[in-house]
Symmetry: C2
Subunit: 334 residues, 2 copies
């Protein structure tokens, strides 16, 4: 299996990307890597960090798509960037999946216009896997499309459900529509219309989910427009950061509280691990005709390895072809 | 000063309401209460719980507006409910403010159609005061109006800013527009248009606020449509509940962790207090021509006392007349 990896995506590129690829190659059976990016810089960085490039090939790309650049520039001014080249390689089926920790907006553009969409898909959506009570849930759309129509939410639900089935092995993921009340009559016109579509959709639709119940594990797939989804994603991060700082400060008040911290050290570490996004891999871009995984911008070697493992697993489970089939069925029914 | 109190609002009515009123009368100087609700039941409950009704009068109302009843029923089928009677007493200036822990939706209806709106106000909005790093912030609209127009967000910002000035004594509250990016070009059409209005508004507008920065104390007033605001309110509650349960479980794993909990007991209690909504009083309904405070549905006596204190303080600070002036100025300018 060949995974294409953007060597210049993320805050720690290329060194941590290369280390992550090396870990993946050594730990995962039969995985080969195609690195995209400046050949000289990659080879120099590999040498400097003593990373072996065994089972990796480099596909040269002269540019880097900085996160501050307007996403659509990927198609024109940055068409020889490591990200654009990676997308094109995937479209040409030179690899089984593409992993990048670069600009989310640009990757959505690349997935949409270079990898291209699954037939019938209106918009590529970002699925963020977020820790919650008892595990994690998939939030989609997590920010790719601020404005959404009801049919888009239906497609997000179908694809999100397949992702949770195939990647996390849930037999019947509970799909919830993010809304401000449990009743069918709640929300704006978007939620009212989406509710009607979801009721008849080929997913295990459990009705509206109120944001209060999301962190408590109330659903496996939380469906929302990209504005609401991004608010949820960022507020979850902000609350996590706020509360973890407060909890940390509980233990630094003096010798007694510092001793107390030692007493629950193991539990604290395990909780921290549970809340760590990196444990759940990157965010899948759902709706593209090839498998695209967005790794966190701050990914370290381990996070890159996990994202590659995620790509391998999704590829083995035929996630994209399952979605293609489901979307075709959806079109046939409507 | 006379505060009208709905004796039949909330999960713990009327007993906790009455106890809260007694606390308010004994602790706050010169405060008198008008209780609305069934006279017999109130007197019986007061006797049963040994609550003195000194400095309180009862204004009889034969009905109770249950939270499951369609809010607009307040105007017709439940026009003799304790809530409707309270709203009318306020409109008739029989009291300085009205406090209720009943149905939020019904109270918005009552504030809008019985108390009536400040001249020029398009919609009454709920302002929720939410704990964050270093204190609290006002979220408005917290759920009264799922669909909003940009001019409504402008009015929410102006009123929210006055509330934080007058009630919390902030000289220049930082007003942020809830959005999914810091740049002026982010969000849906609503945020784009609201941004333009807020730039020229008579508030200390600090630009877009990303939800990640809200719990970290990034603004004093977070302005949003009621759908987004309600998502923020409920997700904040859910995250708080989720993480506090997880933290609690850290300390119950065995004798060592239980001893550790003792070591940080004081800090834990202080953190819990900081995160307790009840400490910040009820939610003001902004835009009504009289002062209406929505107390939490689960309010106990202390929470009712705090909501009454809040009503007294807002009344002394002329919050409603300040808002009336500001909205008139806004109209004159546009």
């Amino acid at each position: 299996m060949k995974i294409i990896v953007d060597a210049f995506g993320g805050d720690n590129a290329p060194a941590e990307v290369l280390k992550g690829c090396q870990l993946a190659v050594s730990e995962l059976d039969g995985v080969e890597i195609i690195l995209t990016g400046d050949k000289d810089v990659i080879e120099k960085s590999a040498k400097e960090h003593q990373v072996s490039l065994d089972h990796m090939e480099i596909c040269h790309a002269s540019q880097v798509m900085d996160i501050h650049i307007e996403p659509t520039a990927l198609l024109k001014d940055f068409s020889d960037s490591s990200m654009a080249v990676g997308c094109r390689l995937l479209a040409e089926k030179k690899g089984d999946a593409f992993v990048s920790a670069g600009s989310t907006g640009a990757l959505v553009v690349g997935a949409t216009f270079l990898v291209k969409r699954i037939k019938g898909i209106k918009r590529v959506t970002i699925g963020s896997v977020i820790p919650c009570k008892g595990g994690c849930y998939l939030l989609t759309d997590a920010g790719a499309n601020a404005d959404c129509r009801p049919e888009m939410l239906l497609q997000f639900a179908v694809m999100g459900s397949i992702y949770m089935q195939k990647f996390f092995g849930l037999p019947s993921p509970r799909v919830g529509l993010v809304n401000i009340g449990a009743e069918e009559t709640k929300g704006t016109q978007l939620q009212l219309d989406a509710y009607r579509l979801l009721k008849d959709a080929p997913v295990h639709f459990t009705g509206n989910i109120e944001p209060r119940d999301i962190p408590l594990g109330g659903c496996d797939v939380a469906v929302a427009d990209g504005f609401t989804g991004n608010v949820i994603l960022k507020l979850t991060e902000g609350m996590g950061s706020f509360i973890s700082k407060e909890v940390k400060s509980l233990f630094t008040g003096g010798p007694v509280s510092m001793l107390s911290a030692l007493g629950v050290r193991k539990q604290l570490m395990s909780f921290k691990k549970q809340m760590d996004y990196k444990e759940y891999g990157g965010a899948p871009l759902l709706g593209a005709a090839g498998l695209v995984i967005k790794a966190h911008g701050s990914s370290d070697a381990k996070a890159f390895k996990n994202a590659i493992r995620q790509a391998v697993q999704c590829s083995k489970q035929n996630v994209v072809s399952e979605m293609t089939k489901a979307i075709a069925n959806l079109r046939a029914q409507s």
